[in-house]
């Protein structure tokens, strides 16, 4: 399907090639030398906050390597694209880019020498950023430590690797210009809309994309994908049992944790880490905007829904009682042969696995441990329309970055076999969610396992 459509696009583009080529051609902007000392510290500071909102550091930093020096693999349905070096190194970074060239890259998706950039760089969002914000971002990046690190060529198949192809994409999905403010909304909401839609590019993950990788304009925040994780819907379709409020979104963005929703996991973890440098006011604005998409807007309804969800979650005992076992006995035979386990060994019941593997943290008893996670009944992945996110968490776990305080969940990717994980996830769904059972967890698991497991830091 994807390829058929792509082919059509190729044909369309091919037929109009002459005119299109002329349109798509961009001139090189001459190299420049912008000495770091020229920047006003106030502007640099503003740029730092905007870089945090924009999360530039994530895609432009390789794990364990220097910040902003590029190399992070961005997985897209069309291939892997590596974040580029955006330190001010003149040869391998953007040290020779003038502010004009930088602004053109953000607004039009064209690099200094005139090449079209892949839309994995979300210029369809950045295009809405104001010139002065881009100037501040530029000042911030130009005052970073220059790192000489060559960029890695993207691993994208033909014909998508023809850079000009990106131009065709832009024709369809790049809508330049500022977003007009909504006079019916508060100043904070409008500020949030600006940040979330431009530099914040929330929709890049949380809005579904069409076959060409463009965001579906009619499905804003209806849920998307990121690095093999499900980016849940933020609108009324949100699977969270308790409706998000601005206060909760703010807490989540500020601390990576919201009382009634749990904690940031997967690709949202580094986002939250980055947002530490964003200002409180900006985070509150984004929260106000994002929460305005959430289901229930009426406080009384929300209160009622919340109570219902909480009551349900708390009524779900994590420990399904077992019949008392007989006397503890053991006997031993010395003829076992070492070897790998057959993956389709019979799976014990999910409830049994849950108690032994999960309940020491996800348990329902009293005050211990105090750092125990939220009730699973409130968890978004447990209540999501498909099991991908929950499977991803069960496989990989959750790991704070080194030396940082933050929940640790061990991954069970190798400890449990596929039938065991399937049984466990099925049990969790039926025990803790009011949503219908997931139909084919085993197939989903195979798919999630095939999706290259993201490189997570061990706990």
């Amino acid at each position: 399907m994807v390829w058929r459509v792509l082919l059509t696009v190729v044909v369309v583009i091919g037929s109009a090639f002459g005119a299109f080529y002329a349109w798509a051609w961009n001139s090189e902007i001459p190299p420049t030398n912008a000495p770091a000392t020229l920047f006003d510290p106030g502007i640099v500071a503003k740029g730092a906050q905007l870089a945090a909102v924009g999360n530039c550091g994530i895609c432009h930093t390789q794990a364990g390597a220097k910040p902003y020096a590029g190399g992070f693999p961005v997985q897209t349905p069309f291939g892997t694209i590596y974040g580029t070096n955006i330190t001010p190194d003149p040869d391998t970074g953007i040290g020779s880019w003038s502010e004009t060239a930088f602004r053109r890259a953000l607004h039009e998706g064209v690099d200094r020498t005139g090449n079209h950039l892949y839309p994995a760089f979300p210029y369809d969002h950045f295009t809405h950023a104001t010139d002065s914000d881009i100037g501040a971002l530029y000042a911030f990046l130009m005052t970073r430590e220059p790192v000489a690190k060559a960029n890695r060529a993207p691993a994208v198949p033909f014909p998508l690797n023809v850079r000009l192809f990106a131009a065709g994409w832009k024709l369809l999905f790049l809508h330049k210009g500022q977003i007009p403010p909504d006079a019916s909304k508060s100043a904070e909401w409008n500020r949030g809309a600006y940040l979330a839609e431009s530099l914040g590019h929330c929709g890049a993950c949380h809005t579904p994309r069409n076959v060409l990788g463009g965001e579906k304009r009619d499905g804003q925040f209806a849920g998307g994908q990121s690095e093999g994780w499900l980016a849940p819907a933020l609108n009324a379709a949100s699977p969270a049992p308790v409706s998000w409020t601005a206060e909760q979104v703010y807490a989540y963005l500020r601390n990576g944790f919201a009382k009634q929703h749990g904690l940031a996991a997967g690709p949202m973890q580094p986002v939250v880490r980055n947002l530490k440098k964003a200002s409180d006011a900006d985070l509150r604005a984004i929260a106000t905007y994002v929460a305005s998409f959430a289901g229930l807007q009426n406080d009384a309804d929300r209160e009622q829904e919340t109570q219902k969800a909480l009551d349900f979650a708390r009524s779900r005992d994590s420990k399904v009682p077992m019949p008392p076992s007989g006397a503890i006995t053991t006997s031993t035979r010395a003829d076992a042969k070492p070897g790998r386990t057959n993956n389709d060994s019979a799976a014990p019941s999910g409830a049994v696995i849950f108690v032994g593997a999960c309940a020491s943290c996800h348990h329902s008893g009293g005050e211990l441990p105090v750092s125990r996670p939220i009730e699973l009944g409130l968890s978004t992945p447990v209540n999501a329309p498909d099991p991908a996110a929950l499977l991803r968490i069960v496989l990989d776990g959750i790991h704070p970055s080194s030396g940082e305080r933050g929940p640790i969940m061990p991954g069970f990717s190798r400890a449990l076999t596929d039938p065991q994980i399937t049984a466990l996830v099925s049990h969790v769904r039926s025990q803790f969610s009011r949503q219908p059972a997931w139909p084919n967890i085993a197939a989903a698991l195979t798919k999630v396992r095939q999706n290259k497991e993201p490189a997570t830091e061990a706990p």
């Binding site: 006995t329 031993t332 049994v352 020491s360 441990p369 061990a458």
Partner: protein, 163 residues
Amino acid sequence: MTVLNVNGQQHRIDVDPRTPLLYVLRNELKLNAAKFGCGLGQCGACTVLVDHEPVFSCILPISVLEGRYIRTVEGLGSEGRPGPVQSAFIEEQAAQCGYCIPGMMMRAQGLLEHNASPSDAQIRDAMAPNLCRCGTQMRILRAVRRAAKAMMADAGTIQETAK
């Protein structure tokens, strides 16, 4: 009744199938090496190998282990005949209180079975799930490097003899 294959021996165990492996190893099978450290999968003191993969035995119910191949430090060697990883740890005197070390050795064993000559960074990453409060980390790293060398050398000798 759960049948567990531990260090090459079959054990028929009649305890609640939800019981995490750690407690069965320690109490029913009287194997001392795997230790209780947190019971939460945060410290690695309980690490054992299941099908060649290091796992936290404190959060793995025995019900999921039927027919799988479990190994503990007791399966690596004995005081009289320590295995290569144990010898390397002894030679490097890589222990202070020693409480974390069995878990460390199992994680190292798992690493070396997958990657015979890991880089320093790979060793550190692989060992990351395991905590040591005595600060024996530098010696543990040395011991893992030494074990890798010894195992490579052993493998070399075996190949030579096979020729």
